[in-house]
Symmetry: C3
């Protein structure tokens, strides 16, 4: 840990609220509803659609695009590829969340085709997904970097490999631009006892990406998740009430970010 | 404001509870789960399906049909058209919620084809959707009706244009039969901080439509939304707990509507 | 009521937590999100997918498979059949929840084709679905068994007919191996005021089925539902808060099952 990057999360959240960006979610059927609730709670505006017949038009009217492959289907996959190509062509900020990457050939092929579009300035996943995306190079680097967590190395590798910002979430979150790696030690155990907390992070990143660059967008989103989860957990008796309190706290924080403190990212040696 | 229409919401809610209507929802993947929860909370019975192979049969066994195009797909669109044709043929009460009308060509075409079936005695949407549905005539009328809110004018126009009852929801809700326009000033700001509150109104309207005419169905449903949202907000700390409390309050109200008071509709000059 | 079967629910729940089984859900769009939340709350791991292109691979990596036909679609139906065949071939434990069986020809045909695979060691449904599945034999038995509840008879018939364990849920739950029938008198009325409580029971059964036989899996899951619902109801004001509290209580129980008591199954004469 050598220094603290300067990301003005409070300003970014205020800009989200003041611009109310339209975040086009192409996302899985499990987290979709709560991602929509979250988008509104933080003052942005969601649109969800997996229709191949309107994906390109939706990209056109959106301020940011989030593609999350959690529950693939023939039509959804076609729609996601159409959206990615359109986002690239129009220069719309776009995030890829390769949920379950590596679990099936379908997901591996879909993610490869999506990444080939060059549309994504930010790729986020859990540590396992990002490590698999990093592929052999991560393994090699793992040998080189004794003591560095595999997910941190993988984030750096993915950022280099796909010329993007990469975020690997987990007990510790890592974000990398391919040169530097930053770590956030925050969050709460109950984030692993609800489904979709990683998907929620994607929603927050997409909202932030509509008002700032990918690196501060990823860092702000994960700081917000960390801050909110710690407050929500204190008000809750288990993962059910915790999940619902998250929407209250997200709303309260984004209504008045200056009243809250946020966990800080640190530069790490990888 | 000249007079108050006589809609016996308490009697309508009691009839819903005593008849437990089966409400066939063809609805979007975002609000679907909570619309099912809501249907049960108020004492009705939901069935959700977007399968083109069973849509006609589902219409046949349902007491009311709600078609909400929020997340279109090839199969769902085909299923919705099949259901609309069947509802028309069988005379089943049916509601259209043209979510996102105007956002894409797909949605415009789908809504036009659905409306061409003549199946819908009630069309509901937010103010923007109803205004777009009203089309040029709304703009013309907007010029004519200085001082009238655009959504109120649009509701009247849509009711005339499609020979139905039209409801435009928003901070103020408007319902029109094409001659008169009624306004409801109720609700809570947090209804805009959760996803699907408009879809929920569609669910309530569909349940009421199984026991009464479209005009009192729309008015009762929106009065219920208004009453419940104000009570739920008082018991909540933000949009998360508010959303969950809504199900408690909806249940409490419909269990004993005589213990509650409801916001009143007023006739307005448009 | 003659005796109490010996099912060590506490041990089964501890085994779920310690092995963290991967439960592959092919389930309806209404309950899917909350089934994922529930799986994580009890310490297991969910994967949801209705993609026909990856169903076989998902079965291969899963510890148990749950097929719930609540919202059929062309691709989902194809995927479910693919998964059932693969589960049979690989000997993966699999549960069928024939939601809405009998409501449409599509559901009848789909369930028949799924059952023909011989993949399911456990078939669960509500009393109505299990009674319809039992078919004529249930009616005949109904004549023979004066005084026995139809759902209890149907569970026995379905278990015989499909050579499986059958569970019929309702105010009283029945489980049968085709010879004996057991009854559980537990639960709470609010389970009927939320959508998907039967689907949740399927999730719990699938998690248990990954560590034990179908009969104790079904009985443990329904005892857990009963215990949790009674505790959650005491902490709630209606079906909304009840639904959320269920996740807290499920988490609390499975974290420390020895601190809780569970409703007991009883053998009954059918």
């Amino acid at each position: 840990m050598v220094s603290q990057p300067s990301v003005n999360i409070k300003e970014i959240l205020e800009q989200v609220v003041s611009t109310k960006p339209l975040v086009y979610h192409m996302t899985n059927m499990v987290a979709m509803a709560e991602q929509a609730h979250l988008t509104l709670a933080i003052g942005a505006s969601p649109v969800m659609s997996l229709s191949s017949e309107e994906a390109a038009e939706m990209v056109n009217i959106a301020n940011a695009v989030l593609i999350n492959i959690g529950t693939p289907s023939k039509e959804a996959n076609e729609a996601m590829l159409s959206a990615a190509h359109t986002a690239k062509r129009l220069g719309k900020p776009a995030i890829l969340d390769p949920v379950g990457y590596g679990a099936t050939k379908l997901r591996i092929n879909l993610v490869e085709r999506l990444l080939e579009t060059g549309a994504f300035s930010l790729v986020k996943g859990n540590g396992g997904e990002i490590s698999l995306l990093a592929g052999e190079r991560a393994e090699v680097r793992g040998v080189d970097s004794v003591g560095s967590p595999p997910a941190a190395i993988a984030a750096k590798t993915v950022a280099q490999k796909y010329n993007c910002i990469a975020a690997a979430t987990g007990p510790d979150d890592y974000v990398s631009d391919g040169e530097r790696v930053y770590v956030l030690r925050s969050g709460h155990e109950w984030l692993t006892r609800i489904s979709g907390s990683g998907c929620w992070a994607g929603t927050l990143m997409a909202a932030c990406l509509s008002v700032t660059e990918p690196l501060p967008a990823a860092m702000s989103a994960l700081s917000l998740m960390g801050a909110a989860s710690q407050i929500a957990a204190e008000q809750s008796d288990g993962p059910g009430t915790f999940r619902i309190r998250m929407f209250d706290v997200m709303y309260q924080i984004t209504q008045n970010p200056h009243a809250f403190s946020f966990p800080q990212w640190e530069l790490m040696e990888v």
